[in-house]
Amino acid sequence: MSNTSHSPATQSAPDSGFGRFLRATEIDPRLLGMVGALVLIWVAFEAYSTLILGRPSMLLGAAQADANGFLTPRNLWNLSVQTAYIGIMATGMVLVIITRNIDLSVGSIMGMVGMYMGLLQVDFLTPALGLGHPAIWVVTVIFGIVMGALIGALQGSMIAYLNIPSFIVTLGGLLVWRGAAFLVAGGKTIAPMDDTFALIGGGSFGALGRTGSWIFAAIAVVAVVWGVVRGRKARTLHGFQQRPVWAEWFMGGLICAIILGATAIVNSYIWPKGNIKKYYDQLGLPVPDGAEFGHGYAYPVLILIVVAIFMTVLMTRTRFGRYVFAIGGNPEAAALSGINTRTMTVKIFTLMGALAGIAAVIGSARQNSATNAMGNLDELYVIAAAVVGGTSLAGGVGTVYGAIIGALILTSLQTGMVLIGFGDGSYQRIVIGIALVLAVWLDIVYRKRIK
């Protein structure tokens, strides 16, 4: 820190070794808080299941097959899949909330889009193309995303051009689309979905496998290293102050370690025996002795990763993202700078709708059916995820990665409660409700302190 005048305003950080470390690495202390909370939750559930329920823990040396606490490959893998669709929608909700809007309709959009996708497959595509035709899943996915986007565009237009508050428009949407979802098939469940389509929902067959996951991890690690090198070059070009070299590589190394660790975990979750047999039966082969498959990254998680990268680039590297922040910071200033705030609103809600469409694809693929209740109350989890992840309801502030960590925290609480036997919805809701209020309060306290 030779040239303090250029460093960001973290003067409030105590000038201890840790404060200097934070400043050098430019880690947002709130990110640290979120990750800390996540780790705490995970450890607490594991400790409860080991100490109170007396279940074997892998941390204490139990075999994977025996362990059924929180920190097992199976549970963490399931957690990743469940986080995926909430996380996908939360990345869009960040934009909505940054621009001082809200979208209460995403759960209902999921429900209705899911129903129409089911209807499309069962009543039109399968009869027309034949069972298992490869175009079925493609058409269904495109249809779902486009339908979600159109609904979002409709709501966004009403907010932007009719000046109806987003709270009202999307509250109306919450009721309308849920009602419509029921009417699509008179409340009946549509099943089953196309086999290929169902893979998008995850499961043993809907995952990347061990080799694929390692290749994926290797590409990600290379990308991180490239990002660090390129970032330094761009800053050097203009002669700006650099983060210390050790800090850059520490951060890069940390991210790589997380990628590799996560890959090792999802790969160590082995296929159940039934699926191995099914696999060899399909090949017409006998099951060899000692056959073992690891799951690797589930497809919904890969979709989440792609969405997260896309949304992060959109928010941090493009004009569109810059305008989202500007509108949130000062709508009047944004308009005076020539930003068309109305078309921005329409675009943001269209994007949100498209993401709800993607979530509907994953949700109905995962259930292998379309039900009119799908996505019920998910809008609240999505909003909570964005807010727990540091998005400010006052507008102007929020990050995509924060929303995903927020989704991970909420899903951890939800699945953890089920795991330790508080599966009935009431306890889950109480815990998540308290967590939401607590998270926002801590954020307020933190912001006051840095002022």
């Binding site: 203009h238 810059r322 910071g329």
Partner: protein
Amino acid sequence: MVTRTGTPLVELRDMSISFGGIKAVDHVTVDLYPGEVVGLLGHNGAGKSTLIKCLSGAYKADAGQILINGAEVDINNPRDARAQNIETIYQTLALADNLNAASNLFLGRELVGPGGFLDDSKMEAETRKIMARLNPNFRKFNVPVSALSGGQRQSVAIARAVYFNAKILIMDEPTAALGPQETQMVAELIQELKAQGLGIFLIEHDIHNVMKLCDRASVMKNGQLVGTVDVNQVTDEDILSMIILGKKPAKAA
């Protein structure tokens, strides 16, 4: 001094705009020649900001014409104004508080690199250059402008208006939050820009600055134009009495 012959750079003809029942601007006509500074004066609420907002595209006038170099133009939004090389420093500064100085300076006109991605490093470098000229003490490039002092924020707003090579500059109380040294720098900047041939509308309450910087002064009261005077031909007392009494001095009529 400024030669006021030929077509004016800007002509606002018979402009009117009202909000609800209030006639904020009531049949006002003002003009501006290249290399000229025209002061807009008047009591609080006289309609100065509203008038220039019709030129900057923030408002659409109910009636009246805007002529640039003698040709009538349609200014429906801030983008239209920018396309006419009109830059504005708003009284409210119009900064997005959550963005840093560079993001605000280039807001709506971001520099992009290959692939259309924002070139933040380039924008910061350009911002450093212009700030070095306007406010050499400015250091806070990497914080949101909400963390800046009033004067620092004002210098960001000024930098934004100056950076894009305006032909017509609108400055709505540009020195309101500035210290004496910074005010002096803005005064020098105005003289420099004037020498380059820009036309400047300057809204300013300090009569000494008006006498020093402006070629002409247009005084407004209750939305109406009291009159326009040549600053060389009147005293500051004359202008003050125009502002307060709403009447043009006899000798400058």
